[in-house]
Amino acid sequence: MTYSHLGQNLNMITFLSVIGQSVIANLTKTGRGTLFLKQTLSCTFSVLCHPRLIIKQLFSVGVLTVLIITISGLFVGMVLGLQGYYILSDFGAEETLGVMIAASLVRELGPVVSALLFAGRAGSSLTAEIGLMKATEQLAGMEMMAVDPIQRIICPRFLAGCLSMPLLAAIFSMVGVLGGQLVGVTLLGVDEGAFWSQMQSNIDFYDDILNGVIKSLVFGFVITWISLFEGYDAIPTAEGVSRATTRTVVYSSFAILGMDFILTALMFGDI
């Protein structure tokens, strides 16, 4: 009787310790991540003095992502044009198609969809690259040669990610609006003047477009932070790197969608 009571207690303690372990592990990881971000940010100045490092990363992070962003933007805009036209024509309000396309692209779809694509295309490759560098002990080797890997490897990639995200989102929105115009005006016959003029009179530069740019800046910051840290913190084995890459995409997507809700509530809502 007393023995089984003791066993139950032991089970309870094991259960609690499992919870405790995972909480402590997550908290230490958050702490490591924050310290990592601090170290990265503290290198910003010295990296800005060597813009060549950033340019090389802008190529692999930004330029190589342009194609997927452009094609997705075009199709998202075209679908918005089609769907919007079918719904708006029920109300005889086809002329507001431009407003609908531009507002949804500039406020939400531009920053969010391009950030999701960026996390899948650039974020995962950053994690894999850094993780593999760690697995093959290149980072340790740099430290042996008194080269700070954070300054040489991490920080340029971080800055390149933060820089290219708003540009990619802007390209996405522009191509999307043009795709919507292609479907709405050229194929479905919405009046071109009404399409553009309604858009211009209803989209505000500061409220809509600058807020969209701020959103994409925040997303770029978070995605590059997550992907670089996951790579830097990966277990240096093939499996560890693959898991880190998966985590990058999953966490980035969660972070983007969650942050998007908060930012939208702060910027456009009255919450």
């Binding site: 708003p166 802007a170 390209i171 477009i209």
Partner: protein, 153 residues
């Protein structure tokens, strides 16, 4: 480190296209182009009811947009809505007995102020006020009037 020239060119192209896209959505998609001229003169008008009028709604004469609404305030003493509008400087020959009405663009469109020009020789200047105004049409009021008059008959 070896840097091929083509890499620089592609990065430059990327940055230029990105900034160009921002410029495009600024100028072509949003109202940034109409932000530029902040000069011009301000006139006010008092309405019994300014309806769904908003700041930045257009002010037009004969269907041409000549300015924007800059402020809508409530007068604590006369219980009226005081609407301030900024008129672009080239339209400086509006007679001072012009009247202002609030109209709706289309059935579901936004509301705007339309000025009907008068016959006076004097022109509206900075800070002058429009005396003759016609309030916004509130749909519920019209329906109410319609039902009321129907009952009388």
């Amino acid at each position: 480190m070896q840097h091929p020239k083509s890499l620089d060119t592609l990065v430059g192209l990327f940055v230029v296209i990105g900034i160009g896209a921002l410029f495009f959505i600024g100028m072509k998609v949003s109202n940034l182009a109409s932000y530029s001229n902040n000069d011009g003169y301000t006139i006010t008008a008092r309405f019994e009811n300014s309806g769904g009028l908003k700041v930045r709604s257009p002010v037009s004469v004969a269907g041409v947009r000549i300015g924007r609404i800059t402020a809508i305030d409530f007068d604590n003493e006369s219980y009226e809505s005081v609407v301030q509008m900024q008129i672009e400087p080239q339209y400086n020959t509006l007679p001072d007995d012009s009247s202002a009405s609030i109209f709706t663009a289309g059935l579901l469109g936004e509301q705007y102020i339309s000025l009907q020009t008068g016959a006076s020789e004097e022109y509206l200047t900075h800070n002058s006020e429009i005396d003759i105004t016609q309030s916004a049409i509130v749909l519920e009021e019209i329906i109410g009037q319609f039902l009321f008059s129907d009952n009388e008959n």
